[in-house]
Subunit: 331 residues, 2 copies
């Protein structure tokens, strides 16, 4: 099977490529060839034993979509996107990449007779916008409050329509907030959700800009890769006409996160969290969903973590060789 | 005030233009200038006392959107669309007119500094798709089962995003099935809902292809014009970020329609309805919504008929000079 990852240089794209390289499989399916595409060279998974192709490609440029599918990959994982903050600052770039780029990919596929690849489309919780209930159901409407969210919701509609018409075999997955993100803190308003765990686990101070009772929806990077693998190989007859699903996750408060950190790494780790309330961040986060019923995704076989302790352990296993190196466990 | 109607040659566009010409107003607002645009010459409302401009214009052609807004109309009513059946047969045309044409209009407006017209966008019940509950709420998700429905849902997302960002002041209205449509029967699967009333009222036979217990959602052409007039002049602060609303209507069965016909025009009119079950039409109609909660629209001041007798009377008043001419009332 030939796997194409569009957006392979991003955090999830890299982890997916590395997982495929490590096992030679996606889900239970053998991967013989893997094409890694991104706007910057996706220098990853060099240990892959199958045929590996790297492409530097901007999906919004004419001809790029056709080039990406020239080898007729069986499974396409479409992760490429301008992120939320940038799509809000630069309206034209956001629509060009997130809407026109996605449509160019779908249309390039549509124009090839008899070619109907599985297409895994990365959507987002940003398709939801307040006001919403405390716990959002599978049939709740999409009312995005950012241009990024609008573009992702439009992509979901195109995915469903093109799947219904038989051009692609699409699965759209709305990722929870991924936690613990490896690497450095960034400027995303959500950065602290990972930072308040990752930084103390590395012996560094972290800033908490919101109250301890703030609730949000989480899954680990390992679950994110698992969602994609399942979407890439599942029986899509389970989905019906609506091809996008809110992924399962863990609804947890900041207090839950901190309690789990204390369990795993002790009071000295927790003491590295400094409370610095930030009204702007608090206001942004207040507009984010807190909890979901994900019956459709669970019935379709998607799974995620059920405790924050487990989410932290996965970070330790995947990023720190299984150990807390800087902070003694216990206090 | 300068009013632009895009799609002025269609049934609703014509009725809107005629209503404005007759009163010199839209809602309570004086209309000084009216621009009527369509792909065919919208030869209508010649009795308008204000400045009247006719444009033959295809919104999907480069430069057309800029030309339409060159005079900076204060209110734009965007009714232009490839209809459901054609958008399903010709995918490219449907996306070109319904998606790219709408986006071209919105983008042309966006590029004019300091210009934020009221934009009334014609959406459709086709944004909904089965499975759904017997009565659909305002917060139920959009899962269109046609390309037309997908394009209309995408238009709603663009309308909301461009309104949120201050480029347009948008109101999207999801029309009920309009009944009684004047004119001739057409090939739309919904044609019989008007035909079984209109044809007998004109002394002609009509075919009923579905069972009497089929339920659907209706409003008169007069209500359709009223929805637009209200959307053109209402306080949009009432809407919040979600700019599209399901319009109020009347949930009625075919049996309710026939009972109302009997009340107004007697048994001889009803006897002109011939039952010819058509499995294809029945299957299509089974996928259509039957009833709605329209709390948001009612709270925002939109109104529609509450009986089918009234819907029939409006047809008689507006299309037949108030009288049933061919069938004696009573039986």
């Amino acid at each position: 099977m030939h796997l194409l990852i569009v957006g392979a240089a991003g955090m999830i794209g890299r982890k997916l490529a590395e997982a495929v390289a490590a096992t030679g499989k996606i889900g239970a399916t053998q991967v013989d060839a893997m094409t890694l595409a991104d706007v910057v060279s996706p220098d990853v998974a060099s240990n892959f034993s199958g045929k590996r192709t790297q492409l530097t490609a901007d999906l919004s440029e004419p001809g790029t979509a056709e080039r990406l599918i020239a080898q007729r990959p069986d499974v396409i994982v479409h992760l490429a996107a301008v992120v939320s903050g940038e799509a809000e600052v630069d309206l034209e770039k956001g629509y060009r990449i997130n809407l026109d780029g996605t449509r160019a990919l779908f249309d390039a596929i549509r124009h090839v007779d008899g070619y109907t690849p599985r297409l895994v489309y990365a959507s987002s919780l940003a398709v939801f916008g307040a006001p919403f209930p405390d716990r959002i159901s599978d049939d709740f409407h999409l009312t995005p409050l950012t241009s990024y969210g609008a573009q992702k919701a439009i992509g979901e509609l195109l995915l469903a329509d093109y799947s219904r018409r038989g051009f692609i075999d699409g699965v759209g997955i709305r990722f929870p907030t991924i936690c613990i993100r490896p690497g450095l803190p960034n400027k995303a308003a959500s950065s602290f959700f990972s930072g308040i765990l990752r930084e103390p686990l590395n012996g560094k101070p972290a800033v908490l800009p919101v109250a301890d009772d703030v609730r949000h929806w989480f899954a680990s990077p390992r679950s994110a890769v698992g969602f994609i693998a399942h979407a890439a190989t599942m029986d899509t007859a389970l989905l019906g006409a609506n091809r996008s699903l809110t992924m399962p996750g863990l609804s947890a408060t900041v207090a839950d996160q901190i309690a789990a950190l204390r369990e795993v790494a002790g009071d000295r780790a927790v003491a590295l969290i400094r409370r610095e309330p930030d009204a702007t961040v608090a206001r942004i986060v207040a507009g984010w969903p807190r909890d979901f019923h994900t019956t459709r995704a669970l019935n379709a076989g998607f799974t995620a973590e059920s405790s924050f302790r487990r989410i932290i352990e996965i970070y330790l296993e995947d990023e720190m060789g299984g150990r807390v190196t800087h902070i003694p466990t216990g206090s």
